[in-house]
């Protein structure tokens, strides 16, 4: 006989207990500590901070642990925490030109002031599984502490000769938008687009960036420069009348140099695509800069023919917290709507049978 679908409360509590059990796994295996995640799964922590839009390694590590390593779930946890934090104001723009560099490469010049620095990269490693890294006794090379080199930005070098368009400037009296405080209002300006891309899903942006390379909105990109390192964050305190340093954050910046544009009055110049992400996140920064440039199609009078050039399409679907929520909501009950559809389809079938 009919058993009412009661007991949601008990079911939820039990499911959460089971989740906690599975999260912990075999009790004979030592529990993970947050510092282990911070130190040894650093790139997962970086991704979580970047797409979670919150620079806090320990909180990101906690989120990763709590999410059992599911990074989108971890990003969601970080976002839901971040949104409750009070907003004191906005920092000064960071100066990536003054970055203490750990990695810096350019694909456009063989050598350049500041030189090429490979830094801690997977590039040129052979992707062979290496059991020797496992365990406490694994041999780890001794490394001298990086000094944090400084180097001028490649785009500044090009810019001095007028070969690349200048960094965009905000119009007089305009303030940089904040997508976490104001609803998005299409069409967007580039400030909001870049904010959305910076917290956008790495996989989604990677695929879109890739699509521009395969002819869907081609932009002829060159990696002018990728740089990874620490920059100072300064906050202007009105009462003091000057900016004070809040600390340093590690960021990855990618400046893409793209096909040139000119007009009757402006001689031809290369154009820019820009990527900036918290932590070490090179793939994300590169994909972001490709998509940024593709989304500037209208600005340059290019035909909008490909998905990566379509602002509403890209920005409306780049946020993985929104996307995962809505896709996964399909598992919530939809009894009453389905009942309405069942009723209609039965009526229509009955009518058809009546005709025959």
């Amino acid at each position: 006989m009919y058993v009412a679908v009661k007991g949601g409360e008990a079911a939820i509590a039990n499911a959460h207990r089971l989740l906690a059990d599975r999260r912990r796994g075999d009790r004979a295996v030592p529990a993970l500590r947050l510092d282990q995640i911070v130190e040894q799964l650093g790139l997962a922590v970086d991704r979580c901070m970047g797409e979670g839009s919150l620079y806090d390694r320990e909180l990101a590590a906690l989120a990763i642990l709590q999410a059992r390593g599911d990074l989108i779930e971890a990003i969601f946890l970080v976002r839901a925490y971040r949104t409750t934090l009070p907003r004191f104001g906005y920092s000064e723009p960071i100066d990536t030109g003054a970055m203490k560099i750990e990695r810096r490469i350019s694909a456009t010049f063989k050598d350049l002031p500041g030189g090429q620095m490979l830094g801690p990269t997977f590039d040129y490693t052979h992707r062979l599984l290496d059991p020797s890294i496992v365990g406490e006794d694994a041999e780890v090379p001794v490394v001298r502490e990086a000094e944090g080199e400084q180097a001028p930005r490649v785009t500044d070098l090009l810019g001095r000769q007028g070969l690349i368009e200048p960094d965009g400037e905000l119009a007089e009296g305009e303030e940089v938008g904040d997508l976490t405080r104001e609803p998005l209002d299409f069409p967007l300006d580039r400030d909001l687009r870049l904010q959305a891309l910076a917290r956008g899903d790495e996989g989604f942006l990677l695929a879109l960036g890739y699509s521009t390379q395969r002819g869907y909105g081609r932009t002829h990109p060159f990696v002018g420069e990728i740089r990874i390192g620490e920059v100072e964050v300064e906050f202007d305190i009105a009462e003091l009348g000057f900016a004070v340093s809040l600390g340093r954050v590690r960021v990855t910046e990618c400046q893409m140099v793209n096909q040139f544009k000119g007009s009757a009055t402006i001689p031809p110049q290369f154009t820019r695509g820009y990527g900036l992400v918290f932590g070490q996140a090179e793939r994300k920064a590169m994909a972001m800069s490709l998509v940024d440039r593709a989304l500037r199609a209208k600005e340059f009078g290019e035909d909008i023919v490909a998905p990566a050039q379509d602002e509403e399409f890209v920005i409306s679907h780049s946020d993985n917290v929104q996307a995962t929520g809505f896709v996964e909501h399909l598992k919530l009950p939809h009894y009453v709507d389905f009942q309405a559809e069942l009723d209609l389809i039965r009526r229509m079938r009955a009518e058809l049978e009546g005709v025959e």
């Binding site: 909501h329 009894y335 009723d343």
Partner: protein
């Protein structure tokens, strides 16, 4: 990091609540118009009621009594979860009785019992734009609303008739509010549309992922779109509720076995329980003691 657990009354900070209340006031002033608001990440996923939760969090006070339903029922898992959330972060009294509630947050249904003045019905909305599946671009649909250009919607309904002999939209059935804006009533079955018309309760709609709030103030005209020769009708069920014998209510079909056995029961669990308490019994129900 241990101080993480400090949250404001009803989770959202007061600044955010004020921002949402301003959006609600604007929505009430322009019935059926979708007001953009700066939706926040909530501790439950987008698509699981974040819009409704933000609206509720902004209007709820310590004296409110909250009811949460999903599919008409108080005991579906997501309704349980949202009710528990507010019981925790706002320490408000919760209820399953429609009559007792001052705020009712709902997904997909309007309670069978007529709502009264002073009550607020908060809808969780997945896609607030009624024109979205006809025109995917926000920039276009905004223009269409501004110009009152709703021809496309009528063409869609007409095409239904041409193809199926009837309007084949059974839920999220579009309505026109106060003769001006075409509005999505959220995915409630069209059975519930007439309940929105000149309701004494305030109806608020929150779409978190889509950053929109809209409203139907009390006593507002809400008309389901139709044609003179194909007037709007609601679903009728051939059988009454098997537990309480109710007719003229929305029913869920419950499959009993793999030989086609089934029963229909009230989708509104509170309504069903109250009827059974009052002595009504359906064919499969047990008499109240």
């Amino acid at each position: 990091m241990n101080a993480v657990a400090n949250y404001n009354f009803a989770y959202l900070d007061e600044q955010t609540k004020r921002m949402i209340r301003r959006a609600i006031l604007k929505a009430v002033a322009i019935p059926g118009y979708q007001v953009p608001f700066s939706s926040r990440e909530m501790p439950m996923p987008y698509g699981w009621g974040t819009g409704g939760v933000q609206v509720t969090a902004s209007i709820i006070g310590p004296d409110d009594v909250l009811k949460v339903i999903d599919q008409g029922a108080d005991d579906t898992t997501n309704a349980v979860s949202i009710r528990a959330f507010f019981a925790k972060v706002a320490q408000v009294k919760t209820t399953t009785h429609t009559a007792e509630a001052t705020i009712i947050q709902t997904r997909h249904r309007i309670p069978e019992r007529k709502l009264e003045a002073g009550q607020i019905l908060v809808y969780q909305v997945p896609i607030p734009e009624p024109l979205r599946f006809l025109e995917p671009r926000e920039t276009e649909t905004r223009k269409m609303h501004a110009l009152e250009e709703y021809g496309l919607m009528h063409v869609k309904l007409y095409e239904d008739i041409a193809r199926h002999g009837r309007i084949a939209t059974t839920y999220a059935y579009p309505v026109k509010v106060e003769g001006r804006y075409v509005m999505d009533p959220s995915p409630t079955p069209k059975f519930d549309n007439p309940k929105m018309h000149r309701s004494e309760a305030l109806q608020l709609f929150g779409a978190g992922r889509e950053h929109r709030i809209y409203a139907v103030p009390p006593h507002t005209e809400v008309v389901s779109l139709d044609f003179e020769d194909h007037p709007f009708t609601v679903q009728h069920f051939a059988e009454p509720c098997a537990l309480c014998g109710a007719e003229q209510v929305y029913l869920d079909e419950v499959i009993l076995d793999d030989r086609g056995g089934h029963m229909y029961v009230c989708s509104d669990t509170d309504h069903c329980e109250e009827r059974r308490d009052a002595g009504y019994v359906g064919v499969m129900g047990e008499a109240a003691e």
